[in-house]
């Protein structure tokens, strides 16, 4: 009998068609990952700020996560040991965040969180922190970063800042503010107020300075560089005519700016400290403006109407021939390059509306990401997964973000004011 079994087994194994089963799974779908961020257990009323909600919103805006509403949560475990994974699987959550906030010494808080793999039933990451009360929001961003990176393998970039210009007051008596907010639009801080227009803020690569355009001297524009921490500022470009659209080189040494001192606007390079003369990079009778650097510092992208309507062009940083990059549509302007240099975001006119589009620079493939009426001034997040931009609302414009993948778009804050030209700061 045993012999027979061995024989049969041998015969079975000798038939190649019924060896190990190998299958190809082709397709699937891209979708935001369902995640449950359980409200952090807290004994204190000071954490009125909804810690878990900050994380939830961050993850949602990235477009890569689909947080499950806490209303649907089954229980509120605060630690791994208390989690009944079956419940969360039933809820469809792939990952789960639990944690707690407790008062610590000296008015600080002790915060602990754990990221759990619901299907694997295991802990992916987690950490303990001690923070001052004012550090809680940043900590929520830091934890968001850790979750994002643990799940996607990419940096989250939630603990970054966005600079933008606000315009308030009447048309006759406007006030301009240069403002910095957290990446989720919260806790805006104005670092400069002017009765004259402020334009085109651009973060230095180290995140310590902002270059921007100010018309404070009257009729002509200047480019200023301001230390964000100290408020110290100085003019680095005040040439005749237009001094506009500064852009830091990746090494922080050079600013690309638009000057019209040659008669019409062209792209020039100047030292970031304003020393020395400007070196002309483009020379065309059309308008060349809004330069941005490729991450490797080898090229600059800029907007030019040299072909008729505005399009994006590229030119070597060392000079030479500019080549057109965008071809779809008659209006493509205000470029921003992703941190990996692969994607170019710009304002694209589609069916009479201005929208944010991205073009894959390797595949030459363009996608329109937003569906607003007037979406402008895209700026890639440092992590490259989101784009900040402005969009029109009833009585003005607001700061918004759109995820590059998944196309989650939404306003960050409710403003009474008009918001212009956001620039997303470095990590």
């Amino acid at each position: 009998m045993k012999k027979l079994l061995v024989l049969i087994l041998g015969l079975l194994l000798s038939v190649p068609a019924i060896g190990q089963v190998k299958l190809e799974i082709t397709g699937g779908a891209e979708a935001a990952l369902p995640i449950a961020v359980v409200p952090f257990q807290s004994e204190t009323s000071t954490s009125q700020l909804d810690f878990a909600n900050i994380i939830r919103d961050n993850l949602y805006r990235s477009g890569l996560f689909d947080p499950i509403s806490p209303d649907n949560h089954l229980g509120q475990p605060a630690r791994f040991e208390d989690v009944r994974f079956r419940n969360w699987r039933a809820l469809g959550a792939d990952t789960l965040v639990v944690g707690e906030i407790r008062p610590g010494e000296g008015g600080n808080y002790r915060v602990r969180y754990e990221l759990l793999d619901v299907y694997g039933g295991e802990r992916m990451t987690g950490q303990r922190f001690t923070v001052a009360p004012e550090g809680l929001r940043n900590l929520a961003h830091t934890i968001s970063d850790q979750i994002f990176e643990a799940v996607t393998g990419r940096p989250g970039g939630f603990n970054t800042r966005i600079a933008y210009v606000e315009e308030e007051g009447s048309v006759d008596d406007p006030t301009y503010r240069l403002t910095i907010a957290e990446a989720d639009g919260h806790r805006p801080q104005t670092i400069l107020t002017s009765s004259q227009p402020l334009m085109s803020p651009d973060w230095s690569p180290d995140g310590e300075r902002l270059a921007y355009v100010s018309f404070e001297s009257g009729r002509s524009s200047q480019v200023f560089v301001q230390d964000v921490g100290t408020g110290e500022r100085r003019s680095v470009a005040a040439f005749r005519g237009i001094n506009g659209a500064p852009a830091w080189s990746p090494d922080g040494e050079t600013l690309a700016i638009t000057l019209s001192r040659g008669g019409n606007p062209d792209i020039y390079l100047i030292a970031a400290d304003g020393s020395g003369d400007a070196r002309q990079l483009t020379d065309h009778f059309g308008i060349d403006t809004e330069p941005v650097w490729s991450p490797d510092g080898e090229h600059l992208y800029f907007t030019s109407n040299r072909g008729g309507g505005p399009q994006i062009y590229r030119i070597p940083a060392s000079g030479g021939e500019a080549e057109r990059v965008t071809f779809e549509g008659k209006y493509n302007a205000s470029p921003s390059v992703s941190a990996n240099g692969r994607l170019l975001a710009f304002t694209h006119r589609q069916d009479g509306h201005f929208r944010i589009a991205v073009q894959d620079l390797e595949e030459d493939f363009m996608r329109v990401l937003t569906d607003g009426q007037l979406d402008e001034s895209p700026s890639f997040s440092a992590s490259g997964s989101m784009i900040a931009y402005t969009r029109s609302v009833d009585d003005g414009t607001e700061l918004a973000t759109v995820s590059v993948f998944g196309r989650v778009q939404g306003g960050l804050t409710e403003f009474d004011n008009t918001v212009r030209e956001p620039d997303w700061g470095p990590l």
Binding site: L4, L7, I8, L11, L12, V15, A17, I18, G19, Q20, V21, K22, L23, E24, I25, T26, G27, G28, A29, E30, A31, A32, L33, G63, L64, F65, D94, Y119, G120, V151, T152, G153, R154, S385, S403, V404, F405, G406
Partner: protein
């Protein structure tokens, strides 16, 4: 040999007795008196009494008578001696004859005895020999028979063994054939089941597979899945990484989300799946 010696000893002994008897008889004659009536001497005393003359005249006659007597005495003594000698000779001859006869008799008896014994011995030996031969013959026949029986038994056993082996071989071949047919049938049914269930598994996992947007193109990951009864996912592990952690995790999760996977109930059809399923995940 021993018996022959004994016979001679007996003969010698008889001879010795005869001599002793003679000596004894003679010595009795020398020392005997008339009173000594011994049956053996009665005759010679009678004979002596018969031959003695009776003297009757004087001197001359005396002398003559003397001489006569002496002569007669002489004659008588001589006669007596003669008789004595003759008697003795006779006796001796007789004794000798007797002894001779006895010896002969003895010898005869002994010879007879010897012959008898020898005959008996011969007969005995022959009987023994006969018995031995018969016994040997018997033993030989029995040995032959035994050998015969054993040979037959051996042959029978070998024949049985042969038959048994052939039967086993036959049974084995039939079993092999049967097993082969069953295995073929099983393989056929497994192949059919594979067609159905492979598609079902692919479909279910495909539906369950969602990956975070923005993952680079051209990735592929291989997930090894161990399945329990009823298609329960025991484990799902990336064995060939795509190089992208999020992609890998999405593949693993797709399997876990699809748990349990479609699988045949019948153990023989489920066997290929139970041995492990290898899934290659590719977006396009």
């Amino acid at each position: 040999m021993i018996k022959r010696e004994t016979a001679r000893d007996v003969a010698l002994s008889i001879g010795a007795h005869a001599v002793l008897f003679l000596v004894f008889t003679v010595s009795l004659r020398f020392g005997s008196s008339l009173d000594d009536a011994v049956p053996g001497t009665e005759q010679s005393m009678q004979a002596t009494a018969i031959s003695q003359p009776v003297p009757d005249q004087e001197a001359e006659r005396e002398a003559e008578a003397q001489a006569q007597r002496e002569a007669e005495e002489q004659a008588r003594r001589e006669a007596e001696e003669q008789a004595q000698r003759e008697a003795e000779e006779q006796a001796q001859r007789e004794a000798e004859e007797q002894a001779q006869r006895e010896a002969e008799e003895q010898a005869r008896r002994e010879a007879e005895e010897q012959a008898r014994r020898e005959a008996e011995e011969q007969a005995r030996r022959e009987a023994e020999e006969q018995a031995r031969r018969e016994a040997e013959e018997q033993a030989r026949r029995e040995a032959e028979e035994q050998a015969q029986r054993e040979a037959e038994e051996q042959a029978r056993r070998e024949a049985e063994e042969q038959a048994r082996r052939e039967a086993e071989e036959q049974a084995r071949r039939e079993a092999e054939e049967q097993a082969r047919r069953e295995a073929e049938a099983l393989a056929q049914r497994q192949a059919e089941a594979r067609g159905t269930y492979d598609a079902a598994i692919r479909q279910k996992i495909n539906r369950a597979w969602s990956r975070p947007p923005g993952i680079p193109e051209g990735l592929s990951a291989v997930v090894a899945v161990r399945l329990g009864p009823g298609g329960t996912v025991l484990s799902a592990e990336v064995v060939e990484s795509s190089g992208n952690a999020a992609f890998d995790r999405s593949a693993e999760r797709a399997v876990l989300r699809a748990d349990p996977l479609p699988m045949p109930d019948e153990p023989s059809l489920a066997a290929p799946y139970r041995r492990g399923v290898e899934l290659t995940f590719t977006p396009e």
